[in-house]
């Protein structure tokens, strides 16, 4: 418990910064919507004339003149932002003891490596949930402010569940990178590198529409805003894949962190 509290305290400032960033992203994004809403149908027509561009922005089969339709485009960037947060948090929370050379202090205390990872995982989950809640509240308020049809709160809640799975995936990738690698400096670059690769794969799939099977490789394809909004549900297959990735990553991190030499 002492490690959990320590980590919560250590990440408090960074969590506030990420939350402010998130609120700003949603605020700025939805403010742009008012411009689209005023232009009426012409924005939709513009993108229909440019399918490649529409794909690159992830706005096919989306009604941009609806607040929630516009939000579904913004949701991709929310996913990316929380994914960056998750992977950096996961990598840093484990690797910092070795990187800042406090591992000798921590692991000469009566704690097992498993206890340390579990405590840090718990603290990280609290951070993920907090950022998710901030996103939820900001989204409900901002989308609600522009919404003219039925309530969007239920579908935003559903989107946030999807968002949480993506957060979990990237957190576990970060933790695995730090847990496995004997070079603590590599953890964050490896985790964010994988994230970028996944993001660009997702963009490439949107634009080229080739090799649809590759979509299973990028978590950014698992919980797409427009799909969730159109179907009003999460795809159970992707939920299962997400949980599978998280389980494998965490298992690898625990096993390797327990058996490897600490970099001291």
């Amino acid at each position: 418990m002492n490690i959990v509290l320590r980590e919560l305290k250590a990440h408090r400032k960074s969590l506030i910064a990420w939350s402010v960033g998130m609120v700003f992203l949603i605020l700025a994004g939805m403010t742009k919507y008012s411009g689209f809403a005023n232009s009426g149908q012409s924005a939709n027509d513009l993108f229909k004339g440019l399918p490649g561009l529409a794909a690159a922005f992830g706005i096919e089969s989306v009604d941009l003149t609806q607040a929630i339709g516009f939000y579904s485009v913004l949701f991709l960037y929310i996913l990316v932002m929380t994914a960056i947060h998750g992977s950096l948090l996961g990598a840093e929370i484990i690797s910092k003891e070795e990187q800042e050379k406090t591992a000798e202090f921590l692991f000469s205390k009566p704690v097992t490596r498993t206890q340390v990872v579990t405590s840090k995982l718990f603290a990280a989950l609290v951070n993920l949930l907090a950022l998710n809640l901030v996103t939820l509240v900001a989204s409900v308020i901002m989308v609600g402010a522009y919404n003219t049809g039925e309530s969007v709160t239920p579908v935003i809640l559903l989107l946030m569940v999807g968002l949480f799975f993506v957060q979990l995936i990237f957190l576990s990738i970060g933790i695995a990178a730090a847990g496995i690698s004997k070079k603590p400096k590599l953890a964050a670059p490896v985790a964010t590198g994988l994230l970028l690769a996944a993001f660009f794969l997702s963009l490439w799939l949107d634009i080229t529409k080739k090799y649809p099977g590759l979509k299973y490789l990028t978590p950014f394809k698992y919980f797409e805003g427009r799909v969730i909004i159109n179907h009003n549900s999460l795809d159970p297959l992707y939920v299962a894949i997400s949980l599978g990735i998280v389980a494998v990553m965490l298992l690898a991190a625990y096993l390797r962190y327990n058996s490897r030499d600490l970099s001291v």
């Binding site: 002492n2 320590r6 250590a10 800042e100 050379k101 406090t102 591992a103 000798e104 202090f105 692991f107 000469s108 205390k109 009566p110 704690v111 097992t112 206890q115 058996s259 030499d261 600490l262 001291v264």
Partner: protein, 291 residues
């Protein structure tokens, strides 16, 4: 009872030198020195004992329990001061000490206050504002506040001023008189000599000798260095007990073991400018005693 017992403990660290077949037995209540030049494997041995790194082969037991299997349990009763102290920069001293104490099942508040008093530590300062010596003091307090039964110190005195060193050594002697076992690693023979009963000497990853401190002192090596006004005949020092003779212009250095009077008579015959007779340092011991 043996507090520390290693059996052919071996750790290969890739290209860096590790330790090979280290057999170390430290009995309960001993003040045990562990000396060797930098890079000989002292820290590697200690880190293996603390299961920060794992042995390649062989095994180690502390309090009769395997260090890998029962690592966390054993550490309940170990206090460790690493050679280089690094703590969470954004913490205040008292936060770090409280955090340290929070790992132990017992209440450490009273002992913590005593130690802070003894080491003369300002607990309201932030750790990254502290000097190296003061960080070391934080290290000492966090290592001792839970009243461990075994204290492991890796090069503990670097950065401490002589007065603080003395206080610290007194503290260690006091702990030792309560029955606490102490393993002190150092490359400075003098500090081991002042404290320890027995000493293991490690060189290039292997234990080369284990001696009682009193025996080591009896080896009676002295280091002579002298300068004369006139050139000195080399043949003057052709005498049993002289080793490592080096002559340069009018200055001479050598190690001497034997009847001190015989060499003093020879030295007295020289027209001296200066003369030093010193205790050999560890380097000399290795060069002349263990070759």
């Amino acid at each position: 009872m043996n507090v520390i017992e290693t059996n052919k403990l071996t750790k290969s660290c890739g290209t860096a030198r590790g330790i090979i077949d280290v057999d170390l037995v430290v009995e309960e209540g001993e003040l045990y020195g562990f000396i060797g030049p930098n890079g000989a494997g002292k820290s590697t041995t200690i880190r293996t004992l603390l299961s920060l790194i794992y042995p390649t082969s062989g095994s180690a037991k502390i309090f009769g329990k395997d260090v890998v299997e029962f690592g966390a349990e054993i550490k309940e009763d170990i206090g460790y001061l690493p050679s280089e102290v690094f703590y969470y920069d954004n913490m205040k001293v008292k936060d770090l000490l409280n955090y340290s104490a929070s790992f132990y099942k017992k209440d450490c508040t009273k002992r913590m206050r005593e130690l802070v008093e003894i080491m003369d530590l300002d607990t309201h300062k932030r750790i990254d504002d502290l000097s190296y010596g003061n960080k070391k003091k934080v290290g000492i307090v966090q290592g001792l506040l839970h009243e461990p039964k075994l204290i492991i110190l890796d090069e503990p005195t670097g950065g401490l001023d002589p007065l603080m060193q003395q206080k610290f050594f007194n503290l260690l002697k006091e702990e030792n008189s309560k029955g606490v076992t102490i393993l002190l690693s150092s490359h400075i023979l003098g500090e081991v000599q002042r404290l320890c009963d027995r000493v293991a000497i490690i060189k290039e990853g292997r234990i080369v000798n284990v001696e009682k401190m009193s025996d080591l002192a009896k080896s009676n090596y002295s280091r002579f260095k002298l300068e004369s006004r006139t050139p000195i005949e080399k043949s003057l020092f052709a005498l049993d007990g002289v080793s490592g003779l080096k002559m340069e212009n009018n200055s001479v250095t050598f190690m001497f073991k034997g009847d001190i009077n015989s060499i003093i008579k020879i030295v007295a015959s020289i027209d001296l400018l200066t003369l030093w007779v010193e205790e050999p340092d560890l380097e000399d011991i290795f060069l002349h005693y263990y070759e």
